[in-house]
């Protein structure tokens, strides 16, 4: 038992039971991914001390806090619905945690101001939470959780309820600031894209249990449940935006991906998403208009009725979806060298 979060939780939830084991080291981000009703909220409340567990143990940074009241746990939570106190200003909301821990008001406000600045919302300090937009309220509640500090940071559905633009923006901000948090970080979400972009360790939850956990790459390679497979059904590749002449590309640890023009500065950390069905598989190099052609061996073939998901040991690795007819006609089998072709316009690029 070292620093970090070690928890085994069993508690009643709705009609079923929550039964989860979690371990997150300091400075690491665990993402809990699951559909609505999987027990994510119960888990958050149990870790924060807002519901009691009837079995198990919660150890935080070496302290046993299993039955400690919330104010003694030092678990900072950004709640899904923000829960800013409407009768306090934005600044007082962000300073609330430190003031509760007995810090002098001026010091707490100073730290609150710094966090608001860090999240680019310093100008909101004097506003009432009731006047904030959805995106602004998210930033303020994130600032409040960060300013409170603690031995565990929980973000509950940090981008749900935001529109697309605000969501992309919120993701970028979160990715940036949580790197500075030395405590273990736990992000709860039902959005696979969000999960894959934040996770050092991914926990997939269904009906109160963790059905699979591991680093995102290993889960993508071998999804153990239908739900997990559908979650990671897209190819999501991390990289940095680059330019060569007038052509845009995403530099990855392996081969670069050629992409359509992007409205972002080169060097931006991005995610490239390619749907497995947009990739054409051939048993020899093709001369086509597709700009991306990656060669590699077939790592595995998983057949589901008349479709097959083929995992390629290209760099970066790719999942390709083809019909079972194609498997027969091309004679595809594990270990065979193949070429994957896909168009630049079939790659969706967005900042991470």
């Amino acid at each position: 038992m070292s620093a970090g979060l070690h928890a085994r939780l069993r508690a009643p939830m709705g009609e079923g039971r929550l039964d989860v084991e979690l371990s997150v080291a300091g400075g690491q981000t665990a993402v809990l991914l699951g559909p609505n009703g999987a027990g994510k909220s119960t888990l958050v409340r149990a870790l924060a001390g807002l519901v009691d567990i009837d079995e198990g143990r919660i150890v935080l940074d070496g302290r046993e806090v299993t039955h400690a009241p919330p104010q003694e746990r030092h678990v900072a939570v950004q709640f899904q619905s923000n829960l800013l106190l409407p009768w306090l200003s934005v600044l007082e909301n962000v300073a609330y945690g430190r003031r509760s821990r007995g810090e002098p008001a001026s010091d707490a406000r100073e730290s609150a101001r710094r966090w608001l600045e860090r999240l680019d919302v310093a100008d909101l300090a004097g506003r009432s939470p009731k006047t904030l937009s959805g995106g602004q309220a998210r930033r303020v509640s994130l600032a409040r959780a960060l300013a409170a500090g603690g031995d565990l940071l929980i973000l509950d559905e940090p981008t749900t309820s935001l529109d697309i633009d605000a969501r992309v923006d919120a993701r970028r901000v979160i990715a940036e600031v949580i790197r500075e948090v030395a405590a273990p970080r736990l992000i709860v979400t039902h959005d696979p894209v969000e999960a894959l972009s934040f996770a050092d360790e991914l926990y997939i939850m269904e009906a109160g249990r963790v059905v699979q956990s591991g680093d995102p790459a290993s889960i993508r390679a071998r999804p153990r449940s239908e739900y997990a497979a559908s979650l990671v059904g897209v190819n999501l590749i991390k990289g940095h935006l680059g330019r060569q002449g007038d052509r845009w590309k995403v530099d990855t640890p392996g081969e670069p991906l050629w992409v359509a023009d992007v409205d972002l500065p080169p060097g931006t950390a991005v995610l490239a998403r390619i749907h497995p069905r947009s990739i054409i598989l051939s048993s020899e190099p093709l001369r086509t208009s597709a700009r991306n052609v990656l060669a590699g061996r077939i790592a595995s073939i998983a057949i589901d009725q008349d479709r097959a998901r083929i995992l390629l040991a290209t760099t970066p690795g790719l999942t390709v979806e083809v019909t079972t007819n194609a498997i027969a006609s091309l004679g595809l089998e594990q270990g065979l060298e193949v070429w994957a072709s896909f168009k630049a316009t079939d790659i969706e690029v967005y900042p991470r």
Partner: protein, 269 residues
């Protein structure tokens, strides 16, 4: 189609019946008050304003109503909090306990108080041997008025506490707030509107309390005679003076109402 349906309904005779009934109600509620002002004998005003009856009664009424409201806040707030935090069954039972004095005729409340705290009643006798007198003085008036007005405060505050988003208290706790700090910075500010409404209702009830006070505490000028009691006594000999006192009391109530109108009728949330 919907529009036709709506407009034909609005033209139906039923609409006029509703309007007429509503108008009658408004007149019924306002005419007596206007009459009170209309019948006011201005020549009497100076004399009544200078009378010792008014002075004594006004001061006693103010002290008694403020004392009763203070007791309601002091003892009613914890009860309201407790009710709002109980399971549904216990909550219903506790609410009933609070509502009974509200629906009881005030005279009955006065008799009930006498049967407990009167000179020959069990608790009253004990207090008397200790040298504490709780009837026929200002303490008695405060007890009677509190008995009648406290339930109004408790029910209003309890409704506010019950509708408060409990998750805000949870959020405060995760931020390290002790239960006391959560109460002070979340629970109470979050029910501010309800508390103000409760204060106004309890005070309005307290300033006008009549039946229980008279039954329990008597009607002695300068000692136990509050404004409503003074009005009754004056009325038996001098209707004009009673009229003036009534307008003054009404004015005081309207003033409080105007001061609190935003809390009572506006957007309390």
């Amino acid at each position: 189609m919907t529009r036709t349906a709506t407009s034909s309904r609005s033209r139906s005779p039923g609409r006029y019946v509703v309007l007429a009934a509503a108008l009658c109600t408004v007149l019924f509620l306002t005419l007596p008050l206007l009459g009170l002002i209309g019948q006011l004998n201005w020549a009497e005003l100076g004399r009544v304003l200078g009378s010792s009856v008014l002075h004594d009664a006004l001061i006693l009424s103010l002290l008694v109503s403020i004392g009763a409201v203070a007791l309601s806040v002091l003892f009613g707030t914890p009860l309201a909090w407790l009710i709002s935090r109980r399971a549904r069954r216990t909550r219903g039972l506790l609410r009933l306990v609070v509502i009974i004095p509200m629906v009881m005729p005030p005279v009955v409340s006065g008799i009930a108080l006498l049967s407990m705290l009167g000179r020959r009643a069990p608790l009253g006798r004990v207090l008397e041997t200790l040298g504490i007198e709780v009837t026929s003085n200002i303490a008695g008036a405060i007890i009677a008025v509190t008995f009648v007005s406290l339930p109004f405060y408790v029910l209003a505050v309890e409704a506010g506490l019950t509708s408060l988003d409990r998750r805000l208290e949870d959020a405060a706790a995760t931020l390290g707030a002790s239960p006391m700090r959560t109460l002070r910075t979340v629970t109470l500010p979050g029910s501010r509107g309800a508390i103000m409404a409760g204060l106004a209702l309890a005070w309005a009830r307290a300033i006008g309390e009549f039946g229980a006070t008279m039954t329990f505490n008597g009607n002695l000028q300068g000692r136990t005679q509050t404004m409503p009691l003074a009005i009754l006594q004056t009325m038996q000999t001098d209707l004009d003076a009673a009229n003036v006192l009534s307008v003054l009391l009404m004015g005081a109530c309207v003033l409080i109402l105007v001061c609190l109108r935003g809390r009572l009728f506006g957007d309390v949330s």
